[in-house]
């Protein structure tokens, strides 16, 4: 357990370190960078969702003046993939989704590149596209990847099934599911659906790559994780790691869409083909929607056995994830959501099958929540439905079944006090919206007459980081001549705000004013220390430990020098007020600045040398999950939470407004209150977008209909709730820095089911598919014939 102490910097609110640069436009993004001799790239994408490529004629494009390189899939014999290596840099032989790149051009100007791609002639032979996840799941003839059996993949965690469209399955088997159902008084069964959606970061994907002399490659990219880009890049091209340098400047949001590797290999190949000239490719918004990956769709089937008193006796969950054309992160979303799909409830008997299924649609990747936004829509709507079937208050029903210390999770991990408390989160939000039990039918009828009806609803959530068992972080802190600090970490602050609390950690540990701590913003794999990835809400608790360790390392080095100066033990120092102070005689001290580059005695002798602190942290004790039962310890920590909302519905149009949303998370320790509050508001609004309007719409041929902002809508300032109530519970975690847990993704999870449940409370309608458009509310009401339509 972390020590209990009073903090000077931790837990307070400080403005973001990058606020001024971002607000004034000085922050440098990939799109801003121009290198000498740089070329511009453009992709040609497939108009078909599934087709054989019969021929590609690039001659006209090549002969256009200003064109330097033209590439097609036939030119590139490389395979890419995160966990399952199933992708070509450019489609080869066949295309698997409409929008997939089939050729690319590098030219002197972007206009020439655009003209050139339009001169490339591709002959396709259309194949039947697989557009329904269930159909693709059952299909054995029409395969998106007939060669699935020959692909290499990460065998410790993934189980592709050759001869099918199933690229992974995660199984959980706990207790005896049949026994559980036989003990039930009633069984409640329903299906829930989520469409694919986009992350919509302000900055689209972009990369500049120069394939230099001696196969030394320089990459500027808008990526979340520079070291993962380097690692995957080296695997694809069989290059040694020391040859590849990845620089990540400021990044304008990613939300998971910029994890892994995306445009970098293609741009590298274009640079290589252009004789080593640097090449720049910035995705258009249409490409961001249609060519770069999205969030997977989910079909979620839930069957629950219940006792009349509200106790769950058995829970069977089947998740069909629509991975789209390539496995990318979808297989890991499938894995993480597989072991999390039961939510923060205790089950004696639990059965989960989570499948990733290839279809001929835009492929899915990580997106804030990593499957949990989608699965909690179904799960928490279902829990509400169970309570309704039992004629119980949904709050009382949840209280009976929520997980608590002494229980075990789906993977049979013991829950202890320091795991955190979902109950405290639920209690807090239910109180905040003044929940007084379900609305009665007569109350509802009365309100419906006024055409404005209010309803209240809530939903719980949990999420653990989806991470390899050896996830690690490192940190270097360097003291400057004036006793100030440069902090180097490679966890990109791409909008998530992690750098400010990390500066607070250094200020706290070394007792240096925050203004004297500089966190280096551009990350460079040649100069900065290793970090796995900037994903999974894990940096503050885990990376924070590396930063604390770096501070301790620096303190030890300062103490070693001071011990020589004062002829005492290095254990006898305290570090306060930018000074190393001899604790047995407080008049003996040395300011940090006198140690920064080495201590000089009055006679000129010098000792010590430049002060550099190094800290690392690696997750310990995690295990792979058993293939058949899922048993194991998958992640560093669980963060619990809950949302409760009050909505007002216009019963004539179906339009609704969230009047109030209370959101509680057991974060262990608040590091920076303002920053965390910002995460909550941002996450809630993103969750609201997913709840009310966001979706990919395909036509019958698998073409994305809404690939621009005209018809792919996200919420605006006019759409946000009237009131946000963030609540933080602090049950200290036993390993996280200062007891903290991650909370970056969590605010987005379970917003949609809380709204769905509030609409149920308001109107007694049962919505099971996201998003909940005004039209869907109207349709549901109409089908109930409750609508009071005076016409």
């Amino acid at each position: 357990m972390p020590e209990k102490r009073e903090y000077k910097y931790i837990g307070k609110s400080y403005p973001r370190l990058d606020a001024d640069e971002k607000l004034t436009g000085q922050a440098r993004y990939v799109a801003d960078i121009v290198l000498p001799g740089m070329l511009y790239a453009k992709m040609l994408t497939s108009p078909y969702a599934h087709a054989k490529i019969k021929s590609i004629d690039v001659e006209k494009a090549k002969s256009l003046e200003g064109v330097v390189a033209v590439l097609t899939g036939e030119d590139l014999d490389y395979n890419v993939g995160l966990y399952l290596v199933d992708k070509r840099i450019l489609a080869r032989g066949k295309v698997r989704y409409q929008g997939e790149p089939v050729a690319a051009v590098a030219a002197e100007t972007l206009e020439i590149a655009e003209k050139a791609v339009r001169l490339i002639e591709v002959e396709y032979e259309p194949l039947k596209p697989l557009l329904d996840v269930e159909e693709a799941f059952n299909e054995r003839e029409n395969l998106v990847h007939p060669d699935l059996g020959s692909y290499s993949y990460l065998k410790a965690a993934f189980y592709p099934q050759p001869g099918t469209n199933i690229c992974h399955v995660t199984k959980i088997r706990k207790g005896d599911i049949e026994k559980g159902f036989s003990e039930a008084d009633i069984i409640v069964e329903r299906e829930y659906n989520n469409p694919s959606v986009q992350h919509v970061p302000m900055e689209t994907h972009g990369a500049i790559v120069q394939w230099g002399i001696g196969d030394k490659v320089l990459i500027y990219t808008s990526a979340q994780s520079p070291f993962t880009v380097r690692n995957l890049f080296c695997h694809t091209f069989k290059l040694p790691h020391q040859n590849v340098r990845v620089i990540v400047p400021y990044v304008g949001g990613g939300f998971g869409g910029k994890a892994g590797i995306h445009l970098e290999p293609l741009v590298a190949c274009l640079s290589h083909a252009a004789g080593g000239r640097p090449v720049k490719l910035i995705a258009t918004r249409e490409e961001e929607f249609n060519t770069l990956p999205c969030r997977c769709g989910l079909k979620f089937k839930i069957k629950t056995g219940l006792k009349k008193d509200g106790k769950i006796t058995a829970q069977k969950l089947i998740l069909l994830w629509s991975a789209g054309a390539y496995a990318d992160y979808a297989v890991n979303v499938t894995r993480a959501s597989g072991y999390s799909a039961g939510g923060p409830y205790f089950y004696e008997n639990l059965y989960i099958d989570s499948f990733a299924v290839y279809t001929n649609q835009v492929f899915g990747t990580a997106y804030r929540g990593f499957g949990h936004v989608e699965l909690f829509w179904g799960l928490e709507r279902h829990m509400d439905f169970c309570a309704k079937n039992l004629n119980m208050d949904p709050y009382e029903f949840r209280k009976i079944n929520l997980i608590k210390p002494g229980d075990t999770t789906a993977t049979q991990e013991p829950v202890v006090d320091s795991t955190g408390s979902v109950r405290k989160c639920l209690d807090a939000v239910v109180k905040a919206i003044e929940w007084r039990g379900n609305k009665t039918d007569s109350e509802r009828e009365k309100e419906i007459k006024s055409k404005k009806v209010r309803g209240k609803g809530f939903a719980v959530l949990h999420k653990a980081p989806a991470m390899p068992t050896n996830t690690s972080s490192s940190c270097v802190i360097k003291m400057n001549e004036n006793g100030s600090i440069i902090l180097n970490i490679s966890s990109t602050d791409y909008g998530n705000g992690t750098y400010t609390p990390m500066a607070q950690v250094v200020a706290e540990e070394l007792d240096i004013p925050l203004s004297k701590i500089h966190v280096a913003f551009e990350t460079d794999t040649d100069r900065d220390p290793y970090d796995w990835q900037t994903v999974a809400s894990r940096f503050t608790p885990m990376g924070g430990r590396a930063v604390v360790n770096a501070c301790n390392n620096l303190k030890n080095k300062m103490a070693a020098v001071a011990a020589q100066v004062f002829n005492c033990s290095p254990d006898d120092f305290i570090f306060q007020d930018e000074k190393v102070i001899y604790k047995n005689d407080l008049t003996k001290f040395i300011p940090y600045s006198q140690l920064a580059t080495g201590y000089v005695f009055p006679n000129g002798n010098a000792i010590g040398g430049p002060l550099i602190g190094v800290g690392v942290y690696i997750a310990e004790g995690l295990t792979h999950l058993d293939k058949e039962t899922g048993k194991g310890l998958p992640a560093f920590n669980w963060t619990f939470g809950a949302h409760a909302v009050e909505v007002e519905v216009d019963t004539e149009t179906g339009e609704y407004q969230v009047l109030k949303i209370a959101s509680a998370f057991d974060v262990g320790k608040v590091m920076n209150y303002a920053s965390l509050k910002g995460q909550v508001i941002g996450g809630v609004v993103q969750g609201l977008g997913t709840a009310m309007c966001e979706r990919y719409v395909y036509d019958s041929q698998g073409r994305l209909i809404n690939k621009t902002f005209t018809d792919n809508k996200i919420p605006t300032a006019k759409d946000i709730p009237n009131e946000f109530i963030p609540i933080f519970i602090e049950t200290a975690h036993d390993k996280g820095a200062y007891g903290a847990r991650g909370a970056a993704e969590h605010p987005m999870i379970s917003v949609a089911p809380a709204i769905g449940n509030a609409l149920r409370d308001a109107l007694d309608i049962e919505l099971t598919s996201m998003p909940i458009r005004a039209e869907d509310v109207w349709l549901a009401l109409n089908n109930k014939k409750v609508l009071v339509d005076s016409k």
């Binding site: 206009e111 655009e114 003209k115 339009r118 004539e652 149009t653 339009e655 009310m692 309007c693 719409v697 209909i705 809404n706 005209t710 018809d711 809508k713 996200i714 919420p715 605006t716 300032a717 006019k718 759409d719 458009r773 005004a774 039209e775 109207w778 349709l779 005076s790 016409k791």
Partner: protein, 275 residues
């Protein structure tokens, strides 16, 4: 943008006429560009000449003619209109509808005349201008003539305008000054969005006008109703006979029909139609 084009920025309307005569169908008038430049980026329109009318000072004016009619010239932007006190006071429905177009930044560029010339079935300015009985003032190179706006639209993105003509202004009759009017629009989000459908109404000297957007190939003006024996049910019946909405990504035809009913009901049963 891949195509090369000649760009002219005339300082007088005479020069506009001259360029139009010279280039006719090859050319496009550029006002706000918030529709045109998108089409050019998407390769759906590739004009070889652009005639930018923003350099003509008179075309940025909101005027009254000698008969007291309101003149909205061709380069008047949505925000010019919204921020104009005379319009806010006497023709509030125009400001209200303009305010639902795009975002603030778009409204800084997008023009009222451009919204009409783009001729989208969802055009936010169409309904209010239809119920205010506006006229489209067209210069054909030789003379200026007027077309009632109800005759201006001929199809999706199609109007009566010929390649050598340009819209000089929109004229709103002074007799609609201070008359009751209203506009309601349904959209997927409350921020910038194209309408699922919209309805505009006005009442003037015993006549009620109702216009409906996004429910046909053009915005639709219903036949006039008498306000004395106004039967809202009858208005809705006529509306239902005059619209033919489709199912699309923004909404189903059933939902559109339903919303039109609700909006007509709301607009015609309010005590003060417009605020």
């Amino acid at each position: 943008m891949i195509n090369n084009f000649l760009y002219f920025r005339p300082e007088s309307e005479d020069e506009v006429i001259e360029r139009l005569k010279q280039y006719a169908a090859e050319s496009k008038i550029l006002a706000g560009g918030t529709d045109l430049l998108i089409y050019m980026k998407q390769y759906s329109l590739l004009p070889s000449v652009l005639i930018d009318i923003k350099g003509i000072k008179d075309l940025s004016k909101i005027d009254l003619d000698s008969d007291g009619n309101l003149i909205i010239n061709a380069a008047v932007t949505c925000n010019d209109l919204i921020e104009n006190n005379y319009i806010r006071k006497h023709y509030p429905v125009l400001a209200e509808a303009a305010h639902t177009i795009g975002s603030y930044q778009i409204r800084n560029r997008a023009t009222i005349v451009g919204n009409i010339c783009n001729a989208s079935p969802a055009a936010d300015m169409a309904g209010p201008l239809l119920v205010l009985d506006a006229a489209v003032v067209i210069h054909n190179g030789e003379s200026i003539y007027e077309v009632p706006i109800k005759n201006f639209f001929t199809g999706v993105k199609k109007t009566v305008l010929k390649p050598t003509e340009y819209v000089k202004a929109i004229k709103v009759p002074g007799k609609y000054k201070d008359k009751e009017s209203g506009y309601l629009k349904a959209s997927r989000i409350k921020g910038h969005d194209l309408g699922i459908c919209n309805v505009a109404v006005s009442k003037n000297n015993g006549t009620v006008k109702v216009a409906i957007g996004s429910c046909n190939i053009t915005p639709v003006l219903l036949p006039d109703f008498e306000s004395k024996q106004l039967d809202v049910k009858e208005v809705i019946d006529v509306a239902m006979k005059n619209i033919n909405p489709i199912d699309d990504v923004r909404g189903s035809k059933e939902y559109r029909r339903h919303l039109v009913k609700v909006f007509i009901q709301r607009l015609l049963t309010k005590e003060e139609i417009s605020h």
